[in-house]
């Protein structure tokens, strides 16, 4: 079995690691929302550039 006994971590280090993420996450929601909407728009443009045959149907089936 792998000897990992030297890989100890203190509670303080663990808390700092976890809270660093939480602190950085406190951006304003409006900034985040603007970025998310921009990403949806970029994704839409990427799809638009892809040419597809008019006969191609979506990848799901309706079953009667």
């Amino acid at each position: 079995m792998l000897d990992n006994a030297s890989m100890k971590i203190t509670r303080r280090t663990l808390a700092i690691s976890a809270l660093a993420g939480a602190a950085a996450a406190q951006q304003t929601t409006s900034d985040e929302l603007e970025q998310a909407r921009k990403q949806v728009e970029l994704t839409s443009q990427t799809l638009l550039k892809y040419e597809i045959a008019i006969s191609a149907e979506p990848a799901f089936q309706f079953k009667a």
């Binding site: 079995m1 663990l14 690691s17 993420g21 929601t29 892809y50 597809i52």
Partner: protein, 475 residues
């Protein structure tokens, strides 16, 4: 309380089954020992969502009655397990890892849990997860009602998501196996980061009735275990048609490694750039060794590449479009703001802006991707790539930062294989293959629909020649 050695908690299902059959241990002893361990150590990794000890003890007692009469219905009889908290269990909270659903209670068990119960497996607890299985896209591992999933190999690292608790609980020997779910990487990623074996089944093979929907056309449930063989044993119980799941393929799965094709007859496609450039430098020697070990098994390893498509745009549009519909009431009610991750809140709100033409365009391209994959698989039986290009990320690191410390490779290799494989609904197996920076890394094998037996046969062969799946963290 029975006294088990630390090493015993990492036994495989096959090993526990032998001990139960030989009456060296009872189902009740097993359930009590694992339930106590899960309750004691689960919080250390933020892995435990809800202990179900009382229910487990009751179940184990009835299983012992069967064992006394030598009625062994399945290799899973008497084996304790945990389930991701997106699966409904009657009468107790099913939170989906998210604060807005913290008090949600269903009055029925998910189909997979009913199936596991029927063969005598013993559910001992619900396991933590990323909120709403990550729907909307999250930036930090802390995106969960239970806090960030902590990796048993290094507690400053993430256990991966979204099946975070399933990954860390199996890796730390808190449960012999767990059920996870995958829409795009949520079984494979925590399996790789935690050094366990995870199987994403073919879309439709396992019923999702009773599981949180995120993306109806992409969601799958699968086993996360100590070995490929264990994955086969669990999948055989989980799989099967279900009229309650509109996506059900109506097929069963029989684990039959004895009928596997010869290794020499199997062609495995890979992209060298994955191993030489996309992989993190510390992991490259490990992945190269895994490639060499697979060659040594006799399989033919050939260079190949994925057909060119806008995979990320298609994956994002399909998942976000469907998630937007699933969670529209949550978003419009404003309760979405109770989620832990700001990026995810914004991502879910933005879902409502995805147009019907964009969603349908993505689904039309998806059809072409499926056809192109079929053509690709005319030349190979499987695709091979690193599951993730490096070991688990640090708990505080943003998950969307990408490569920042080295040039981005010029050719894509199979860096989109997780998304692409999920789009086409193909099964995948993640196998631990070594350590980089003292953390586990893994390779993934992706096969044609319903080729799970082939994936598992190679996995079993690989694990009979290596011991990476046997390594365990210092718990």
């Amino acid at each position: 309380m029975p006294e088990f050695s630390e090493e015993l908690y990492f036994s495989t299902i096959t090993e526990w089954n032998a001990k139960l059959k030989a009456k060296q241990v009872s189902a009740l002893e097993l359930a009590r020992a694992f339930a106590a361990r899960l309750e004691k150590l689960g919080p250390r990794y933020n892995a435990l969502a809800l202990p179900l000890t009382e229910r487990a003890v009751k179940k184990a007692k009835s299983v012992d009655d069967d064992i006394k009469r030598d009625r062994f219905r399945s290799p899973l009889l008497g084996i304790p397990f945990g389930a991701k908290d997106l699966l409904s269990v009657a009468g107790v909270p099913t939170t989906w890892g998210a604060k807005p659903y913290a008090a949600q209670v269903f009055d029925y068990d998910a189909t997979v849990l009913q199936k596991l119960d029927k063969v005598g497996a013993v559910l001992i607890g619900k396991l933590s997860m990323v909120e709403l299985a990550g729907g909307g896209g999250y930036r930090f591992p802390a995106a969960s009602l239970f806090g960030p999933g902590i990796n048993p190999w290094d507690r400053s690292r993430w256990s991966g998501g979204s099946s975070s608790g399933s990954g860390s609980a199996v890796a730390a020997g808190l449960v012999p196996f767990a059920i996870g779910s995958e829409t795009s990487g949520s079984i494979l990623t925590p399996s790789a980061y935690c050094g366990i074996t995870g199987l994403r089944p073919t879309y439709g093979l396992v019923s999702r009735h009773g599981a949180m929907p995120l993306s109806w056309t992409m969601d799958k449930l699968g086993p996360m275990c100590h070995s490929a063989e264990d994955c086969g044993l669990v999948l055989a119980v989980m799989a099967g048609g279900d009229s309650n799941d509109p996506g059900s393929a109506g097929k069963s799965f029989y684990y039959a490694p004895e009928f596997a094709r010869k290794m020499e007859d199997i062609r495995v496609g890979y992209a060298p750039v994955d191993f030489a450039e996309w992989a993190e430098p510390s992991a490259r020697p490990v992945f190269e060794k895994a490639l060499a070990d697979l060659r040594a098994l006799g399989v033919k390893v050939v260079e190949t590449k994925l057909p060119e498509f806008p995979y990320r745009a298609v994956v994002d549009t399909v998942i976000l479009g469907e998630a937007g519909s699933v969670f529209e009431p949550l978003i419009r009610s404003g309760k979405v703001d109770e989620l832990a991750d700001k990026k995810q809140i914004a991502g879910l709100k933005a879902c409502l802006g995805i147009s019907a033409p964009d969603y349908l365009k993505a689904m039309r391209i998806r059809g072409e991707i499926k056809q192109a994959f079929r053509r690709l698989y005319a030349d190979v039986d499987l695709l091979l790539a690193p599951t993730r290009y490096g070991p688990a990320t640090k708990l505080g690191d943003p998950l969307d930062k990408g490569i920042t410390d080295r040039p981005i490779p010029q050719t894509p290799g199979m860096n989109v294989l997780i998304g692409a494989g999920n789009l086409v609904g193909f099964p995948a197996l993640s196998l631990p293959c070594g350590f980089a920076d003292k953390l586990p890394v893994a390779i993934q094998l992706v096969g044609l629909p319903f080729s799970e037996n082939m994936l598992l046969a190679i996995g079993k062969q690989y694990q009979s020649h290596t011991d990476w799946h046997r390594r365990r963290p210092p718990v």
